[in-house]
Symmetry: C2
Subunit: 174 residues, 2 copies
DNA sequence: TGCAGATTGTCTAAATTTTATACACCTTTG
DNA sequence: CAAAGGTGTATAAAATTTAGACAATCTGCA
């Protein structure tokens, strides 16, 4: 049943951590629960976490989620390769938009549905796991660049930092 | 004052189109207003749009935004390089999350504040305009891959579709 | 503990790609 | 119209990638 390794769960409410530990245990071999967000970065030093589930409000009386955003950014700066899923009770559209634009992989509201939560985490991990071959990544990037230069190859090559000739070479391949 | 070229605005409410045309005129040389989403794809054939501002509800009585998501996906499939900003009165967190995960560049709620709207559109265009040099893009991708393979170079090379030697070469450069 | 299999660094030589530079020919655009 | 800029193509030299190989670790597991 445990398809994945370690997940880091951060929430200041002990009952919620208990509930999540129970639910996530189905999917992850190891569920590391933290009640204080300051512990996340140290924990990431020790643990090979595959995913972080992060609550957004920690200071009592402040529910605007700003704290969660700050921690999210700190985590992503140090560990851009670990997907972070946000989880919050005081959700609003603004916050969700800012969370996702700051690099969260999903945004889930409390109360959550266990099945739904697991399903979404699976989606995140699936999307995150795939490594795109270098050549494909390159091709997509080049297409975008040429498109953005409205087909001007000379300009696109300059922006991409390669010779025009090289750009022709690469484009000719497909 | 007009810093940008053409914006495509899609909303079935004529008064809203008028208001947006007035506001966006400051920033765009050309504001193309469409009242029916079916017109978007044809319009993109003729126009060199830099940005699309898309309402999410068109069928009277249906306000769940699903229609907007479908049009968003259709647009992004045909024109992955034109940023789309969603604009809706019936916003909820779920919808915002789905919109952004489907590739929207931002998600704005009605009623909007003109200054704020222009500011957000500027941000989107700024972020979207920059073409990352091929080498930098490659380096970031390779870092991610190696990280995701937990430092196993042999595996990372295989996933990336290059020789292990090549991977060593590229990594040595930085 | 010890071994089989996987991984790492490093090396060759051949094949391929990139670069700088150049040239004639089109398109814009003032 | 003329200048400026873009295209398509070419050459030779420089750099990179590839396949293949090797001994030296490292790792999982019986």
């Amino acid at each position: 049943m445990t398809e994945y390794g370690t997940i880091l769960v951060v929430d200041d409410n002990a009952s919620i951590l208990t509930a999540l530990r129970y639910c996530l245990g189905e999917m992850f071999a190891r569920v590391v629960c933290l009640s204080r967000p300051e512990e996340v970065l140290p924990a990431l030093q020790r643990e090979e976490a595959e995913l972080i589930l992060l609550d957004m409000n920690f200071s009592l009386g402040i529910n605007d989620g700003r704290e969660g955003l700050i921690w999210l950014q700190a985590i992503r700066k140090q560990h851009p390769d670990v997907p972070v899923v946000l989880l919050t009770a005081y959700a609003d559209v603004q916050l969700a938009v800012r969370g996702l634009k700051s690099g969260a992989s999903d945004f889930i509201t409390k109360p959550w549905d266990n099945e739904d939560l697991l399903h979404k985490l699976r989606d995140v991990l699936k999307a995150h796991r795939r490594i795109v071959p270098l050549e494909q990544m390159e091709a997509e990037h080049i297409r975008r660049a040429i498109d953005q230069c409205h087909g001007n190859m000379t300009e696109a090559a300059k922006q991409l930092g390669v010779t025009r000739q090289t750009l022709y070479n690469k484009v000719k391949k497909w």
